[in-house]
Amino acid sequence: MIGYSSLFLSLLVTCIAAFSYFNLHLVSTRRRLGKERKSNLGLQCYRSSAILAGLAAGYLLYIILDNRFDYAYVFSYSSRELAWPYKISAFWAGQQGSFMLWLVFHVIYGLLLSRKNDAPAGVMVIYSVLQAMLLIVLLVKGPFMLLDQQQSDGVGLSPLLQDFLMIIHPPIIFLGYAGLAVVFAYALEGLFSNKHKTWTTAALPWALFSWCALGAGVFIGGFWAYKVLGWGGYWSWDPVENSSFVPWLVAGALVHSLFWARLKPTALKGTYLASIFSFVTVLYGTFLTRSGVLSDFSTHSFADEGIGRLLAGLVLVTLFCGLVMLIIRWPNLPEGQLYSSINSREFVLGCSVLVLTVMSIVVFIGMSTPLITLLMGNPSNVSGSFYNNMSLPLATALVMLLTVIPMFNNHTNKAAKIKQYWWLAVIGLLSLALPFKLGLYRLMIVGTIIFSVTALIMNITIARRNKSLSLPAVIAHAGLAILVIGILVSSAASQSVMLTLDAQQSKNVFETKFTYLGTKQTSDGSGFYQEFMIEGEGIESSVIRPYTKYNKNGKPSTREPGIYRGWLADLYVVPVIEQDDHVVQGIVLHTGENILQNGVNLKFIGMQTLGGNGNSEMRMQALFEATKDGKTENFKPELVYKNNNFIRIPVIVLGQYEVSINGVNPMKGMINIDFIDQAIATNTDRVQVEISHKPFISLVWLGGILITLGSGWAAANRFILYRQVLPSRRSQHLTSRIQ
């Protein structure tokens, strides 16, 4: 009850905070500054709501760490044997918990904003309303639902998610989601108070920061898919991926439009739109992936938990409020030129905003197609080719702009005579060698690669000399150029073959010698490795070990590919899981019943309970008879119940067959056993494996890292700059009010 009640109280106090901030806002806008009666009620209420939200989050963490499996959420995502980092990540493994994490970040940002009344009261009004929305979602579908009966252990975290990257991926994404709420609040406040210039300085660092966090999250997600899922790629245009990719693109447009608006205030109209849509697309993506509307279109999406309508309502309300405010204020927005001439920085900047916007619209249309066609009565989905075909020309346009922007001199706002850059053409021609060496002849791809290379060179050499870009921007732009090269080359020039290898056998593919060394069980029995030795020219001889993890029933379930990471290319090795008929699970037998399994006749004779009364330990012992080729052996597998845990004690019979008890029903005289034929199980000297050669894929990661680094650095710079101008700005603000 602690969880729910603190959420509920937090909602109440948040509402009060919103009202008193609203009051404060009215007072300050009516300029009744004579009685400078600064009400601190809003701040106090906001802080209390933050404490209460923190209490709820802390309680969720506590019940996870304390193994309270009577809570449905803990039962579903945690289990006793889960290591503690994964237990913590169970906090945000599920839908309800991830909303909780979102709330936590929202509240932390809110505390930063409310500190020293940094943000105007109007911002806090909108920000508190957004917080109330999150709290309502959590109250409708929170993580504090109790199960009807006590559970001794939880389901556990999906093995795919048991990876370091998946611990940090969701928090990073939510850092970005929550940050865009700040920008949204600032933008709406700007519209409300009709002050269209002041808010952008405050919102810029938040926009950059959210952009950086979303980008980092997207790249980490892609890297995780490549490293863990084993289908060979890093991006599949899945709705879940798109739901953070679209806000990232919109936030990119937002950041660039903020810079554009500094040069030409008319661009502020676009900035407002981008601010509204960056947050609305966050909500919309949440709605699409959490409402179950896409459940037929993606394996990824969370099942419908009954909050689809609520989320849809929130999307529409935010969009409606934002757009209505914008329409009301449209006549008051600055008028004038969008750019002084085609040969100007703001023109190039505006083009980049346009391209990013078009790109986000394209992905938005693609990810919404299931919903739109569902409403039109003929549900359809789009294939990945739509996104790929659409984004290639847009990427070309982006790298062209990247090539051009460093030419502009900061002082003259003009590009030097194009003749001065004759050497760019030489670089372009030289870079033709790359696609032709890799056998890429599609005009569009070749062209995009040439522009990416020139963009990279321009950013490294000219951008700083002309002072056309700040260093963080240069890093991010160079990162984008590298990313585009990496994506194009790795996807267009990737090749794969299927091999069958016996133990110690070698085969040559991709100028590399592959030797299959054999299978090794992990020491803790959680899965097995299949080891391959690779040797070749320019390759460090090494052993790569694709890993297959067993599920709870001891069957191979998820596999991680083995990857040899080279500077020029990755070798990506995915073994095919064999049919595992040596493991038979869930055989149910009644007392006295026989079963013939893999040539051995098993007879269930009976069972007895040992121990029990007074002891915490209880043992169920079953009696079996195994017969094969005239040989008969009796054996007694046991199931021990100790400290609320069931422990299996398997028995190996006839030197080959392992039998363990899954469960018993003494009342009906029934038993459920698992059977493993070890003679087959150990016979794994042949493997079928798919080997892919992926050139330049390391550039995808390098590009992603550079973009994150650049945008993060820029965000840090702008936060510092904002802090420095803040005191003077505040006094300025005050004088403007008095006037």
């Binding site: 579903s76 995502y77 493994a93 599920g94 839908q95 389901v155 999906s158 795919l160 998610l161 898919a225 863990v228 899922l229 289908w231 060979g232 790629g233 599949s236 899945d238 459940s295 037929d296 279109f297 993606s298 394996t299 990824h300 999406s301 969370f302 099942a303 078009v358 394209v362 249309i365 693609g366 197609t369 066609t373 003929n378 549900p379 359809s380 989905n381 789009v382 294939s383 990945g384 080719s385 739509f386 075909n389 659409m390 020309p393 990737s494 794969s496 299927m498 069958t500 379930s557 998820t558 596999r559 995915v574 095919v576 899981i577 064999e578 049919q579 079928q688 798919e690 892919s692």
Partner: protein, 127 residues
């Protein structure tokens, strides 16, 4: 100025047309097997596995199984690629591909995990 506007509008029109055409080409409608037979393009069919007995063909390079669609009609699905994890345990399977020569050739399989809590299964693509 006017010339520039014409160019701008022209570019926007090209983008929109290009977008519409490629959207139309890559739409995969949600259908039953009966409808899938009549459509030449890529479609998706949802169903359940008829039996857990999987048939592997082409030495592990392809997976073949029978799928029962929502109208109770069966069809053989051929998927060229490695078997997706948890296919036998799937609550439902979505096959995306085309109907050819009395069988459904899938380019992609979406495997829905029986537990709604197992949120991330990862789709399997055929490259």
């Amino acid at each position: 100025m006017k010339k520039r506007h014409v160019i701008g509008i022209g570019i926007i029109a090209i983008v929109i047309i290009f977008c519409a055409v490629s959207l139309k080409n890559s739409l995969t409608p949600y259908v039953t097997f009966a409808q899938a037979k009549t459509i030449s393009g890529s479609v998706q069919v949802r169903g359940v596995l008829v039996s857990e007995q999987m048939v592997m063909t082409d030495g592990g390079k392809a997976v073949k199984f029978k799928l029962l669609d929502e109208n109770g009609q069966e069809a053989i699905i051929v998927y060229k690629g490695t078997k997706p994890d948890g296919l036998e345990q799937a609550a439902s399977i979505v096959a995306i591909g085309k109907y050819q020569n009395n069988q459904f050739v899938a380019e992609k399989l979406l495997v829905k995990c029986p537990s709604k809590y197992q949120s991330s299964q990862g789709s399997v693509n055929n490259k």
